[in-house]
């Protein structure tokens, strides 16, 4: 994607587009040459190990940190543009809100800070709190909230006023399985509404479940980027079958695995009907068919050179 200039017509469709974005802290390079394209309306996963530069990238996109090199556009405006922040919702990694305010007051305060017109605020705050399951706790002081509830509150703040772009930095780090499920549902809801989501997370299974596209960064550089379809390899199809000998399976291009399954290493999902028809024609009885796909975790570890 980096071969298209930021001002090119194609870039109009991107919610985020960066070109060789760099941030240096003294002599340490926290982020180098970050080139990203996040299409509007997508749920974009941003992955990387600790210290890879993910949070620095998020802060650069929000204008909380200034780049020392490169350029970028967010929602069609240069990064750091203050007015663009009206259209962005942000959940920081270190989610802390004034503990002496109630949840409702935190939302009202953020509504005021984002310039939301007064008459809209009450309804918008209520909707946002209900969306994250804090509707019943709107009048409670934040100081009495558990960590998980505070993270839900952070999510409510990020979703306030239906922003065009939602940036979530580790949104489920403090949540229990129920909370994580709720966040997944919220993310699906955002996608169906056309909201762009930039999701920075360590939880690869979660990213795999909700993201359309991902980018993996390591030591400040993008090491892979694309849709999950493009990124994850498909190491064949597994079939649980009876009534076929080893030779017949081999004749179909497969082999028997140690646990008795027939494995077709070069086949893909689209080849399944043909494989099934051929097995049945040869008298085999099929109990299950599982197209294989490399997990995001496997691919992630491979990209980082861990495997």
């Amino acid at each position: 994607m980096a071969d298209q200039p930021l001002s090119a017509p194609g870039s109009q469709g991107d919610a985020i587009r960066t070109e060789l974005l760099e941030r240096r802290y003294g002599r340490r390079l926290a982020l180098q040459g970050l080139s990203l394209a996040v299409p509007r309306g997508s749920v974009f996963g941003f992955l990387g190990p600790n210290g890879a530069g993910k949070t620095t990238a998020v802060k650069l996109l929000l204008g909380l940190v200034r780049p020392t090199g490169g350029e970028g556009m967010v929602l069609g405006r240069p990064i750091g543009d203050i007015q663009t922040r009206r259209r962005i919702g942000y959940l920081p990694e270190l989610f802390r809100y004034q503990e002496w305010l109630t949840a409702r007051e935190v939302l009202h305060s953020h509504a005021a800070l984002s310039g939301m017109p007064g008459p809209r605020r009450r309804a918008a705050c209520r909707e946002s709190l209900e969306l994250v399951g804090l509707g019943e706790h709107a009048g409670r002081r934040v100081g009495s909230f558990s960590k998980g509830m505070q993270q839900r509150l952070g999510l409510a703040v990020a979703l306030l006023g239906e922003p065009e772009l939602v940036v979530l930095d580790e949104p489920t780090s403090a949540l229990d399985p129920v909370g994580r499920h709720d966040v997944r549902e919220i993310l699906h809801g955002l996608r169906s509404r056309g909201t762009t989501v930039f999701l920075n997370s360590h939880l690869l299974t979660e990213v795999e479940a909700v993201c359309d596209q991902v980018a993996v960064i390591d030591e400040g550089r993008v090491v892979a980027q694309g849709s999950l379809e493009q990124l994850l390899r498909r190491p064949g199809v597994e079939v649980q079958v009876e009534g076929l000998g080893e030779d017949e399976i081999r004749a179909l291009g497969g082999r028997r695995t140690a646990d008795g399954l027939a494995h077709f290493p070069t086949a893909e999902g689209r080849d399944v009907p043909e494989i099934v028809a051929e097995i049945v024609r040869r008298g085999g009885r099929i109990h299950a068919v599982r197209p294989q796909r490399e997990s995001l975790e496997e691919r992630f570890l491979e990209l980082l050179g861990v495997r």
């Binding site: 802290y25 922040r85 270190l94 802390r96 953020h110 800070l113």
Partner: protein
């Protein structure tokens, strides 16, 4: 900006700072009333002697009050600024369409309202209770209060700006120590004048430029002293260098420098926050 200002005031209310300051005011005013009433009852002085006695007592009381105010101003401001920056609350606020100058200035306005309000309320209460129980009122209480409040705001601004980079405790301690050092330098300078030793006097002048808190205090002190006492002290060798007698108001240039100093330090705080990684 106004929302941040409002939040700073709400914070002081919710964290019971305002309540604590109110309680402190009641205690202070109550004790002052009791002490001045007792002194008034047992004192045998009349005329100029009585005037001098109550003048010195009020000046001493207000001097102690400025020390208390200094601690309140420095710790309140530093805790509020550094607390938000270190906890991450500021990151969530600054991700909104709000520039860092507006954020910091809004916060400064809110804290200035709390600290200034306390200075005026408690300081005014003390002068009022003295006038009621001892029938003694300084000649220019409003001007004196304004300068005492300005001193508190100046010190608050120093602590406030330091807290954009340093921890709350460090910022507050630096500002408080600076305040007391400048107080000592001011006293040393007066001794230099009394002993006709120019080096000591120069040290005080330099200190006044570096941190004009003592200059503001001396300005306030002048407005707390009866004019008759000042007229009496003029030309008398015994009063030269006396920290409880200020014979002239602070020149407008000194007051202008104090205002400029506050503005510059606040601007430096804003500059510091703009460069800080949130």
């Amino acid at each position: 900006m106004l929302e941040v200002c409002r939040l700073a005031i709400v914070e002081s209310l919710r964290r019971r700072l305002t309540l604590a300051l109110f309680a402190a005011t009641i205690l202070l005013v109550g004790l002052t009333g009791w002490a001045f009433s007792a002194i008034n009852r047992v004192s045998t002085l009349v005329g100029a002697g009585r005037l001098g006695q109550f003048s010195v007592l009020l000046v001493f009381l207000m001097l102690l009050f400025t020390g208390m105010l200094a601690l309140t101003a420095t710790f309140t401001a530093a805790a509020s600024v550094a607390g938000e920056l270190e906890s991450g609350v500021a990151a969530a606020i600054l991700a909104r369409p709000l520039g860092r100058p507006a954020y910091l200035f809004g916060k400064w306005l809110g804290l200035a309202a709390v600290v200034g309000g306390f200075a005026l309320f408690a300081g005014g209460g003390e002068m009022l209770v003295v006038s009621r129980v001892a029938a003694y009122a300084p000649p220019e209480p409003v001007l004196a209060l304004c300068l005492i409040t300005a001193q508190a705001l100046l010190l608050m601004t120093l602590s406030f700006s330091l807290a954009t980079r340093l921890s709350a405790v460090t910022s507050a301690i630096i500002a408080t120590v600076a305040f007391f050092v400048e107080w000592m330098l001011g006293t040393v300078s007066l001794m230099g004048v009394a002993l006709k030793y120019p080096t000591l006097a120069t040290v005080g002048e330099v200190g006044k430029i570096l941190l004009p808190t003592n200059a503001l205090w001396q300005g306030a002190e002048y407005y707390l002293e009866p004019r008759a006492l000042i007229a009496l002290a003029h030309g008398l060798e015994a009063f030269v260098g006396d920290p409880f007698i200020v014979l002239a108001p602070q020149p407008p240039a000194t007051l202008a420098w104090a205002a400029l100093w506050t503005a510059v330090v606040l601007a430096l705080g804003i500059w510091s926050l703009r460069r800080r990684i949130i």
